[in-house]
C-alpha cells in the first residue's frame, strides 16, 4: 500500500481550503479516507485481538499525522476534524453496508459475520438505519445533521463542534439534543 502522505501536502490543502480553493476538498477527502482506514487497522493490529477503537482517538491521530500543527490555526484544526468526521461516516457506513451485502449473499460468497461478535449484525443494521435517518434530517435541517456528524461520527466535543461550525457551544448542545430526538423519532415511528 502507498506510504502515508507527507504532512505538508495535507496542511497545504487544508490552508487552500480555507482560501476557498474548491479542488482542495476533492483531494483532501480521499487522503483522509486512506489515513483513517490505515490508522484504524494499525491500532487494532497494535493493540491485539480484543481491542476496540474510539472515534475521537482516530481523528486526533489523523490530525497529528497529516497536519503540521505549527502552520495552521485553531480554526483550521476544527475544520479538519469536521471533515474527518464526515469521512469517518463514509468509512463506517461503507464497511457496514459491505458487511451486510456479504451477509445477505450478495457478492461472491455468503459468510458468517457473527464469529466472536454476537450483536454485530444488529449494530450494523442500527447504524445503517441511523445513517438513512440522518440523510433525511439533512434534507430537513442541514444544520442539525452537521452537528450529528461531528458529535457522533467524529466523536468531537461540543467545543470542537462549535468551532468547526462557527456557532456557540450552547447552540451545539441544544442542536445535539434536538437532532437526536428527531432521529430517534424518525427511526421509531417509521
Amino acid at each position: 500500500m502507498a506510504s502515508p502522505a507527507p504532512s505538508d501536502d495535507t496542511t497545504h490543502l487544508l490552508l487552500a481550503l480555507r482560501q476557498g480553493e474548491r479542488g482542495a476538498l476533492d483531494r483532501l477527502i480521499p487522503r483522509l479516507y486512506d489515513a483513517l482506514h490505515r490508522i484504524a487497522h494499525r491500532e487494532l493490529a497494535r493493540r491485539g485481538a480484543s481491542a476496540t477503537l474510539r472515534t475521537t482517538g482516530l481523528l486526533h491521530e489523523a490530525y497529528l499525522k497529516l497536519v503540521d500543527g505549527a502552520r495552521v490555526e485553531a480554526e483550521d484544526r476544527a475544520h479538519f476534524l469536521a471533515l474527518a468526521a464526515t469521512t469517518m461516516r463514509h468509512i463506517i457506513i461503507d464497511a457496514a453496508r459491505s458487511a451486510r451485502t456479504r451477509k445477505r449473499g450478495g457478492g461472491w460468497s455468503r459468510v458468517p459475520l457473527d464469529d466472536g461478535v454476537p450483536s454485530l449484525e444488529a449494530r450494523i443494521d442500527e447504524i445503517i438505519e441511523l445513517d438513512d435517518a440522518l440523510a433525511r434530517l439533512a434534507n430537513f435541517d442541514e444544520r442539525l445533521s452537521r452537528v450529528v456528524e461531528c458529535r457522533f461520527f467524529g466523536g468531537m466535543t461540543v467545543e470542537e463542534t462549535a468551532a468547526a461550525l462557527d456557532v456557540s457551544p450552547r447552540t451545539v448542545d441544544r442542536a445535539w439534543q434536538k437532532a437526536r430526538a428527531w432521529l430517534i423519532r424518525d427511526i421509531d415511528e417509521t
Binding site: 500500500m1 477503537l53 461472491w108 437526536r180
Partner: protein, 827 residues
C-alpha cells in the same frame, strides 16, 4: 406523524420552543413550555413528542468506532476490491476463516494469479511473533509436493499486516463439498490418501501442520488434493487465547493438543481421522454447543462408530478411522506412510481385517457390535413373560447408552427367543462381536438374574454375573450388569455415560411390571397393541407418578397411534406434548422422551430443525436407538436433505434389520428423493420378508405409481388395504391408483368410503385430496388440503416431495401452501 412529515414552518416554531425549553432549568421547563404553547394543545403535543424522545435511544449513539473495529476484525484487512497489497492487486474475496481472509489477487510483477491470505490484524503483534511466522512460513515454502499448496512468498504491508501468497488453484474446499452431503467411500479414501501424502512429506521435513481440517483442504477440478496453510496455526495458536479459539478448530484438535499443546505428526493424523469421519458420515465425531464442551468430548468421549451412521462403510475403513482417533498417540498409526499403506490396501480390497493383528493383548477394538439375546424365563410361568422381557429391554437400553457399543435392538433379537441355534451360530447370524445371554428366575424372596457375555471366535465366555434382589431393585441390577459388561469388553466409558447408566432409582415393583407390559404391547405395533400399551402405561404412571420412562414410553405409544392415522393429531399430540414435558422434567437423559418430543415438533409444530435437534440429542444419549434414526430420516428429508436422510435411515436398518419399520426406512427416503426404481427394488425384497407389514405393500404401491406402473401399483395397494384392515392411508393411495388407472368410478367409491368414515373416526383429509387430485378435480382437492391443513394431517409434512400430490403441483395454490408450511420449494 414522522418528524420529516412536519411542514417547515411548523418545525421552525417547534424548533424555537424546543430551544427555549432546553435552555430553561429543569424546574422551569413545564412553565416555559406552557407559556410558549398557550392555547395550542396540538403544538404542545408536538413539542412534547420531541422532548420525550431526547430521553430515549442513548445506546444508538454509542461510539460507532466500536462497530468499525468489529467489522475490520471480521472482514480482514483488505476491504475494497481493486486495492493493492504490496505488489498484488486484489481481484475478489474467495474465502474466509478463523485465520484470515483469502483473496484472488494478481501479481502485478508477473501477471499471474495467486491466492493471497491476509492474516487477522492481531497476528502482526510484536516482533517475536513476526519472526516466528517468517521462520515457519519459510520452512513451509520449502515444501514441494503435489498435495501441498505452493507457498510463493510472505509479506507485510505498511500497516504491519502479514499476508501469505499461495499458488491459486481452481476448485472448492472440502468443507463445502461435505456441506453437500457425505462423500462416496472411494472418493473419501482417495482424498484421505492425498492429504496423508502431503502430511508425510511435511512430517519428513519436520513440519507439523497443526490445523488439518476440511476448510484447509482444496479439491482441484482435476481431482487433485491440496493441503493449505502449513505453519499458520503454530504462529496463530500462540496468539489465540480464550474466545479466540474457535469451535471449528477445536473439533479437529487432538486430545494431546487440547491438553498440553505439545504435538508431533500424530496429532495431524488424529485431525485427519476427524476429517475422514466427517467425509464418510457428514457429521463430526466430537461436537458440543461451545468450544469447552467440544474439547471435553474430544478428551473423553468415544465417537459413534462410522458404520452406525453409514452402514455401507466396510469395517476395514471403520478400523482405519478408529485407529486414527485413538486418544493415546502411541496407539495411532506410527506415521502417515503406515496409514497410506492401509488405505491403499483397503482401496484395493486386499484387506478386510486391517488392524486386527495390531491389537495388543487385552486391548479392545474401538467398537463392538453386541446383541442381548432374549433372556430365558427360568420360572416357566407364562404370566411372567413380560417381566423377563422388561429386564431384557432394560439391558438393551442400558448397553445402548454406551457410545462405544453398537447394540442391536431388542426387537432384532426376538426371533432367537426359542431357537435351536448355538450361541456361536447366533453370533454369526447377527454378525456381532459378542452376545449377552442369560436367564431370569423369580422366587419368593426376589429375582435372580444370571447373565454371561460370550465373544466371537472360539467360544469364549468373557464374563458372567448373577444378581439377586427385591423386584424394586431391578433397575439397579441392570446398571451394575451394564457396567460390568462394558468393563469386560474393555470399553472406556465417559463420566457422563457412567452417571446415566448408574442412575439408580427405586421403582415400585407393580409400576415396573405394568411398564414392562406396556412396552411389550407397544412392540406389537398394532392398533390393539397401542390400546393395550396405553392401558398398562397409564397404570404404571398411576402406581408411580415419578417413573419417567413410563411417561416417555406412553408418549411414544400415543405418538405412534397418530403416526399411523389411528388418532387425529389434534387429539393425540397435545397429550404427547405434556407427557414428554413430564418425562423430561423427571429425567432429561431419556432418549425415548427426546424422540417423542421430536415427533411432536415434526408433525405438530412443523418445526423441522427443532425436531432434528431433539433427535440428535436422543442419538447422543442412546446411539443404538433405531427409531431415533428412523425419525431423523423423516426430519432431514422434510428439509430436503435427502443424502443425510438416507444415511440416517440406513442407520436404523443396520440396527434393526429384522424390524419391518426400520427395514423400510430407506424406502421411504428413496421415495421422497424420487428414486423410484431403487425404492421399488428395496420394498419388493422387504415385502418378501415381511409380508404381514401392510406399510411395506403401501410403500411399494407408491413407488410403483412414481414409475407410472399403475397396474402393479393397484395390486400392491389392494394388498395394503387388506392387510391394514382398510387403513385410510392405504385407501388414499388405492383411490389415487384407481384414478390414475382411468377408473374414476372405483376411485370415487374409495373417496366415498373415506368421507363416510370421516364422520365417526379420524381420516386424514390429505387422503381425499390425493384422490380428487388424481381425478382432476383440483378445486375439491384443494378444499381437502385446506381441511388437512386445519387437521395438521401429518402427511402434509411431505406435501413438497410426496409423489401422491403430483397432480396438484402445477396449481398456484399448491405452491402457496408449501410456502405457508415453511417447506423447501418443491423439487
Amino acid at each position: 406523524m414522522r418528524p420529516s412529515d412536519l411542514d417547515p414552518e411548523r418545525w421552525q416554531r417547534i424548533d424555537g420552543i424546543l430551544d427555549r425549553v432546553l435552555d430553561a432549568g429543569a424546574d422551569d421547563r413545564d412553565r416555559v413550555l406552557a407559556d410558549a404553547c398557550a392555547g395550542d394543545p396540538g403544538l404542545k403535543a408536538d413539542v412534547e413528542a420531541f422532548l420525550e424522545a431526547t430521553e430515549r435511544g442513548e445506546d444508538r449513539f454509542e461510539d460507532p468506532a466500536k462497530v468499525l473495529a468489529a467489522l475490520i476484525r471480521t472482514s480482514g484487512v483488505v476491504t475494497d476490491e481493486g486495492r493493492r497489497v504490496g505488489p498484488f492487486r486484489i481481484v475478489r474475496e474467495i474465502g474466509r476463516g478463523g485465520m484470515g481472509v483469502v483473496y484472488l489477487a494478481q501479481d502485478t510483477r508477473l501477471g499471474r494469479y495467486v491466492a493471497l491470505k491476509a492474516l487477522p490484524p492481531y497476528l502482526g503483534t510484536g516482533e517475536d511473533a513476526k519472526r516466528r511466522f517468517e521462520r515457519e512460513a519459510r520452512a513451509a515454502s520449502a515444501l514441494d509436493h503435489p498435495n501441498i499448496a505452493t507457498l510463493h512468498e510472505i509479506g507485510e504491508t505498511s500497516e504491519g499486516q502479514l499476508y501469505m501468497v499461495f499458488a491459486f488453484y481452481e476448485g472448492e474446499t472440502l468443507d463445502r463439498r461435505i456441506a453437500r452431503g457425505p462423500l462416496p467411500v472411494p472418493e473419501a479414501l482417495e482424498i484421505c490418501i492425498g492429504i496423508g501424502e502431503g502430511l508425510s512429506e511435511a512430517h519428513r521435513n519436520g513440519i507439523i501442520h497443526r490445523d488439518v481440517k476440511p476448510s484447509n483442504v482444496l479439491l482441484t477440478g482435476s481431482g487433485g488434493v491440496k493441503l493449505l496453510d502449513f505453519g499458520v496455526a503454530k504462529v496463530a495458536g500462540e496468539e489465540l487465547t480464550g474466545d479466540g479459539i474457535r469451535l471449528g478448530t477445536v473439533a479437529y484438535m487432538s486430545p494431546e493438543h487440547g491438553e498440553s499443546g505439545a504435538v508431533d505428526g500424530r496429532a495431524d493424523l488424529w485431525s485427519l481421522g476427524v476429517v475422514l469421519y466427517e467425509m464418510l458420515t457428514g457429521s463430526r465425531p466430537f461436537t458440543g454447543p461451545d468450544p469447552a464442551s467440544v474439547l471435553r468430548s474430544v478428551l473423553h468421549d468415544e465417537p459413534v462408530p462410522v458404520t452406525r451412521l453409514r452402514p455401507d462403510v466396510i469395517r476395514a475403513v471403520e478400523r482405519v478411522v478408529a485407529r486414527l482417533l485413538r486418544k493415546d498417540p502411541a496407539h495411532r498409526y506410527r506415521d502417515a506412510d503406515e496409514l497410506i499403506g492401509d488405505l491403499r490396501a483397503v482401496r484395493a480390497g486386499e484387506l478386510s481385517e486391517i488392524g486386527q493383528e495390531e491389537r495388543e493383548p487385552g486391548q479392545a477394538p474401538s467398537t463392538r457390535r453386541l446383541a442381548v439375546l432374549p433372556l430365558r424365563d427360568g420360572t416357566g410361568a407364562e404370566a411372567q413373560a413380560h417381566f423377563v422381557g422388561g429386564i431384557h429391554e432394560a439391558l438393551v437400553a442400558g448397553l445402548g447408552q454406551v457410545r462405544a457399543l453398537e447394540v442391536l435392538s431388542r426387537a432384532s433379537t426376538l426371533r432367537f427367543r426359542e431357537t435351536d441355534l448355538s450361541v456361536m451360530e447366533i453370533i454369526d447370524a447377527l454378525d456381532v462381536d459378542a452376545v449377552v445371554a442369560g436367564s431370569v428366575d423369580r422366587r419368593e424372596d426376589g429375582i435372580v438374574v444370571t447373565t454371561k457375555l460370550v465373544a466371537a471366535g472360539p467360544e469364549r465366555e468373557l464374563w458372567s454375573g448373577t444378581y439377586r434382589g427385591r423386584p424394586d431393585e431391578v433397575l439397579d441390577q441392570v446398571g451394575e450388569a451394564v457396567k460390568a459388561i462394558g468393563a469386560a469388553l474393555g470399553v472406556r466409558m465417559s463420566a457422563s455415560e457412567e452417571r446415566r447408566i448408574a442412575a439408580p432409582r427405586a421403582v415400585r415393583p407393580a409400576a415396573y411390571e405394568a411398564f414392562t407390559l406396556g412396552q411389550f404391547h407397544l412392540d406389537r405395533r398394532s392398533p390393539e397393541g397401542y390400546a393395550m400399551a396405553r392401558k398398562y402405561l397409564e397404570r404404571a404412571i398411576e402406581l408411580d407418578p415419578e417413573f419417567a420412562p413410563a411417561y416417555a414410553v406412553l408418549a411414544e405409544t400415543l405418538g405412534s397411534a397418530v403416526f399411523f392415522g389411528l388418532t387425529s393429531p389434534a387429539d393425540g399430540l397435545p397429550r404427547v406434548r405434556s407427557l414428554v414435558e413430564r418425562a423430561l422434567a423427571l429425567d432429561s437423559d431419556l432418549a425415548v422422551a427426546h424422540t417423542a418430543q421430536a415427533a411432536v415438533r415434526l408433525y405438530g409444530d412443523w418445526d423441522w430443525t427443532g425436531a432434528e435437534a431433539a433427535l440428535r440429542e436422543a442419538i447422543r444419549l442412546n446411539p443404538s436407538f433405531a427409531y431415533a434414526y428412523f425419525l431423523l430420516a423423516e426430519a432431514l428429508s422434510v428439509q430436503g436433505r435427502y443424502e443425510e436422510a438416507l444415511a440416517a435411515a440406513e442407520g436404523s436398518t443396520a440396527l434393526e434389520r429384522y424390524v419391518p419399520f426400520s427395514a423400510f426406512g430407506p424406502v421411504i427416503v428413496l421415495k421422497y428423493m424420487r428414486e423410484f426404481e431403487r425404492a421399488v427394488e428395496r420394498s419388493r425384497s422387504g415385502v418378501a420378508f415381511f409380508d404381514d407389514f401392510w406399510q411395506g405393500h403401501w410403500l411399494l404401491g407408491q413407488a410403483l405409481l412414481g414409475l407410472g406402473r399403475v397396474g402393479e401399483a393397484l395390486a400392491a395397494c389392494e394388498a395394503a388395504v387388506e392387510r391394514s384392515g382398510r387403513s385410510p392411508l392405504a385407501l388414499g393411495t388405492l383411490g389415487l391408483a384407481h384414478a390414475l388407472a382411468g377408473r374414476p368410478a372405483a376411485a370415487m367409491r374409495v373417496a366415498e368410503e373415506l368421507d363416510r368414515r370421516g364422520a365417526s373416526e379420524y381420516v386424514g383429509a390429505s387422503n381425499l385430496a390425493m384422490i380428487h387430485g388424481g381425478l382432476g378435480d383440483l378445486d375439491r382437492a384443494f378444499d381437502c388440503l385446506e381441511d388437512a391443513y386445519r387437521q395438521r394431517d401429518m402427511a402434509l409434512v411431505h406435501l413438497a416431495d410426496d409423489v401422491s400430490f403430483d397432480a396438484l403441483r402445477p396449481d398456484p395454490r399448491y405452491r402457496a401452501l408449501v410456502r405457508k408450511m415453511g417447506l423447501p420449494e418443491a423439487v
